[in-house]
């Protein structure tokens, strides 16, 4: 059994070597982890407590969560109340969400986060705490409606997540080398977006129209290769184009 599992893991590592973007890594993980019922995933470093919502997303290296859920999660400041995030401060061991939920039942917000996640099909999951070289807490979470990992496979899942994370760091390093130039207007607009301002609010602050703001967001999004505004802010933060 285990020889076969090792061979599968090595085949996964060869595929991982050929990935060129976070999107590729997510697609590969979906294939490899399909057998556990994985539908959603998220990987990144854990922001320091108090990090404003607009900046929290910048810590994500891989976002495979429902967009609407991520938006609500950020807007309502769920990150630091989420039991699966809070638990990482106590344990470096992978854990199934069902095994830790009871410990946070006294925090109504924790309970609400879990309940609302369920409405987005995020009912069961496993979190793999990781540690970066500069001792920052990081992690990967895998979830779905009926996700389950047999205990004997947890080590392999941890191994798979570790290699995926290392590849995401490598890809991020490579991406940082291609210079991207934003205009000062684009930087300003993204900077305010990072602080959670809407296009209308940014327009008021900068004294330009909402349409103008949307235009600058659109051009910076294309330059950054981002699918949406949240991702554009995240990428710009990561690349140090905004602070």
């Amino acid at each position: 059994m285990s020889r076969k599992t090792l061979d599968l893991t090595l085949a996964y590592l060869r595929s991982l070597d050929r990935t060129a973007s976070a999107h590729d890594v997510a697609a590969l993980l979906r294939t490899v982890l399909d057998r556990y019922g994985v539908e959603h995933m998220l990987a990144g470093t854990i922001p320091d407590p108090g990090t404003p919502p607009g900046r929290q997303y910048g810590h994500a290296l891989l976002d495979g969560m429902p967009t609407e859920w991520i938006r609500r999660y950020a807007m309502r400041g769920y990150l630091f109340r989420d039991a699966t995030v809070r638990h990482m401060a106590f344990s470096q061991e992978p854990f199934a969400w069902t095994d830790i939920a009871a410990r946070y039942k006294d925090d109504p917000i924790s309970v609400r986060v879990m309940h609302e996640a369920g409405e987005f099909g995020i009912r069961a999951g496993v979190t793999i705490p990781l540690m970066t070289l500069d001792a920052k807490l990081a992690g990967a979470s895998f979830s779905g409606r009926h996700m389950e990992v047999p205990p004997e496979d947890v080590g392999t899942l941890q191994l798979i997540a570790t290699y995926a994370f290392a590849q995401l760091l490598l890809l991020q390093g490579t991406a940082a080398k291609a210079p991207i130039r934003l205009t000062s207007r684009e930087r300003e607009v993204l900077q305010w977006a990072a602080d959670g301002k809407t296009a209308w609010e940014i327009g008021e602050i900068l004294g330009i129209s909402q349409k103008g703001v949307e235009h600058h967001l659109g051009t910076s999004r294309r330059k950054l290769g981002a699918l949406n505004g949240v991702q554009a802010v995240a990428t710009a933060l990561r690349m140090g184009l905004i602070a």
């Binding site: 020889r3 392999t156 941890q158 191994l159 570790t162």
Partner: protein, 207 residues
Amino acid sequence: MIHVVDAANISQYRHEMEEVWRLRHKVFVEEKGWTDLAKPDGREIDQFDTPEAVHLLVMEGGKVIGYSRLLPTTRPHLLSEVFPHLCEGDLPRGPRIWEWTRQAVAPAHRARGTSRLVTVRLMAGIVEWGMAHGVTSLVTMMPLMYLLPFLDTHFRAIPLGLPTVIDGERTIAVRAEFDTRTLKRLRAMRGDATPVLATPMVSEHAA
């Protein structure tokens, strides 16, 4: 600076090697609880500390603050003798493959961030030593938790088996190749492109 101690110069490092055995006892027996290695005299020396072993000593202010051991895989080593069950299939062996074990940092140098610096220096030392001696890869075992930082130093590590629980920790054996890219990465992490290995100066230790 990192000093490389082997059969040719170990007699000049008597005092420093005493510190090494005690540091190893403190880290592996007293802290990690590997009681099999406990010694009444507090000097952790095992059957692999032969003249074939290469010791890397991080020295600061005349003290040993970090340590790693390299063993040739052409001779008995930990993975071949003690932990063969961590590897499926044949163990990679040969003159270009050495085993890295007993990675230790003195407690006083472990404050958040600084332990990493000593470790990064040791890894740079291993790569510098390896490149000078025609060594292209290491075999080693580590808690699974340490695999991500290890990969982040651009060692290309391939598992030799699936994670196995040893002393309550998921542990993995890997073969890890390295080259100039690894060295470049480690130097960038140190923020210093100068070599970490000291040129052995006999006069300094002759007394």
